[in-house]
């Protein structure tokens, strides 16, 4: 479903006199249908950078990122922006650590919009969004409020709902349970395992050992690139 070949990423900081910051090199990662791979390694090993590169948020400097999109392998590292957008819309979901809020849009609509842009009827989309939010213990009275004023944990759960609702064939999860309590962690673990059962390929970053053990089929170790000055 997802395969990288010789993926490398170096940041060039022009504001620091062109300083080179190599983070990833020679990454060969492959994830199959129904498999959950958890990236492991110490802070600074480049887990988040790899995750963002997979999503096309960071520009790969070398190598390929092959994504199966409607049965066809597409190289995210080289695809045109509108192709990347189509892949993100239909194939590649991403749950970031932090919710980027859109002013004035209600929590329910933030989640339902993910379905509506994929052609689901408005009523059905809102019903499904409401159900998923309830499952993640976001009470109904909060559904009509924009999430800007929510706590960190609530925002993360809204983000999870938004990431999971469209059932993308490939999901990238960046610390999905970082600010959650035990009850909600259990809900997330169940959701991840249901997704895997559906055949979703998952790449995750997860520091919580309990959650990691519950979802990971294997670990993909990363170590800090040594050339970093």
């Amino acid at each position: 479903m997802l395969r990288t070949e010789g993926l490398a990423k170096t940041f060039t900081l022009h504001l620091r006199g062109g300083m080179q910051l190599p983070v990833l090199s020679g990454i060969d990662l492959a994830v199959s249908t129904g498999e959950c791979v958890v990236l492991s390694g110490p802070s600074g090993a480049g887990k988040s950078t790899l995750m963002r590169s997979l999503y096309g948020n960071y520009r790969a400097e070398a190598g390929h990122i092959w994504i199966r999109h409607h049965g066809e392998m597409i190289d995210i590292a080289a695809a045109e922006p509108r192709i990347v957008l189509a892949v993100r819309r239909e194939t590649l979901g991403y749950v970031s650590q932090f919710l980027r809020v859109v002013p004035r849009v209600s929590t329910l609509d933030i989640v339902a919009d993910e379905l509506i842009t994929r052609g689901v009827a408005q009523d059905e989309a809102r019903d499904r969004a409401g159900a998923l939010l309830l499952r993640l213990n976001i009470p109904r009275r909060l559904h009509s409020i924009p999430p800007a004023t929510f706590s960190g944990g609530e925002q993360q759960r809204v983000n999870l709902a938004r990431g999971f609702i469209a059932a993308h064939p490939i999901l990238l999860l960046d610390e999905p349970t970082a600010s959650l309590d035990a009850d909600n962690r259990a809900v997330v673990i169940a959701m991840v395992n249901e997704a895997k059962a559906r055949g979703t390929a998952i790449v995750a970053i997860c520091h919580d050992a309990e959650v990691r053990d519950a979802i990971a089929d294997r670990l993909f170790p990363l170590s800090p690139t040594q050339e970093a000055a």
């Binding site: 940041f11 060039t12 900081l13 022009h14 504001l15 963002r52 096309g56 948020n57 960071y58 520009r59 922006p81 509108r82 990347v84 957008l85 859109v102 002013p103 004035r104 849009v105 842009t117």
Partner: protein
């Protein structure tokens, strides 16, 4: 097929290079933000792309609904004007530039319909009221003059006036400039929703990176008349490659 395609655009104002070999591709339904500081040439690019200003060199092609490409700057004036009042729209930073301040809100919204040949008063009025509601202006203000409107309302009225003919392509020049922050947020959300729902393609000029992030699929960064970087909005803003883009992104205050 691209909706709008430009190659090799160059334009000088005396010693200043306002545009220097600029290329642009815009696909149907895509929102492209042109960012850069004042004087970087972004408004000039908008004016050249929309045919309001002729370049010294280079070509802009527009693909009509039948798939036919037209050289925008070689088009006869009547055809270009027809385009501007039907398939295209232009949203100015100052809504007063576009609105008729001595004509009611309903008349302002209805003008493009009438220019296109609508001759049924009841239909025109119903459509005007529908559009006022869509831009969150109370329907009972339909007969009020724009001069009784606030700045944010004027901008929303301009958007209703522009979108009423369902254009395929809208040019926007700093549409949220000069508005209070709270008013800006509401307007941005409105533009975002309408553009997505109607599948409108847009070229948006802004110096505000947050506006670009919220509205645009793609960003082109301009510096001294050149496009120095272009790509997916989140890619350009989160992983800027060019020195100027890095400076631009790092200069934004974090709220």
């Amino acid at each position: 097929m691209t909706l709008l395609r430009a190659r090799g655009l160059s334009l000088r104002f005396k010693a200043i290079r306002a545009l220097d070999d600029v290329a642009v591709d815009l696909w149907p339904g895509e929102v492209l933000a042109i960012v850069g500081e004042s004087g970087s040439g972004k408004t000039t690019l908008l004016n050249v792309l929309s045919g309001r200003m002729a370049p010294d060199a280079g070509t802009v092609w527009y693909t009509d609904p039948e798939g036919q490409e037209h050289d925008v700057h070689a088009m006869p004036a009547p055809a270009l004007r027809t385009l501007h009042r039907s398939d295209w729209g232009f949203v100015h930073q100052d809504p007063r530039q576009n609105l008729r301040m001595n004509v009611s809100a309903g008349g302002n919204v209805g003008e493009r319909l009438m220019a296109r040949g609508a001759r049924n008063y009841g239909d025109i009025r119903a459509e005007a009221i529908d559009w006022l509601t869509q831009v969150e202006i109370d329907a009972n203000r339909v007969d009020d003059l724009p001069r009784t409107f606030s700045g944010g309302m004027l901008q929303r009225l301009q958007i209703a006036r522009t979108l009423v003919t369902h254009p395929r392509l809208v040019f926007m020049d700093e549409p949220t400039g000069g508005l209070d922050v709270s008013v800006q947020a509401r307007l941005l959300d409105l533009i975002r929703t309408l553009v997505a729902r109607l599948g409108i393609a847009a070229v948006l000029v802004t110096h505000d990176i947050a506006v670009a992030r919220l509205l645009a699929h793609r960003i082109a960064v301009m510096q001294r008349g050149r496009v120095v970087e272009t790509g997916l909005t989140d890619q350009v803003l989160d992983d800027p490659q060019h020195a100027y883009t890095q400076l631009l992104v790092s200069s934004v205050l974090q709220a």
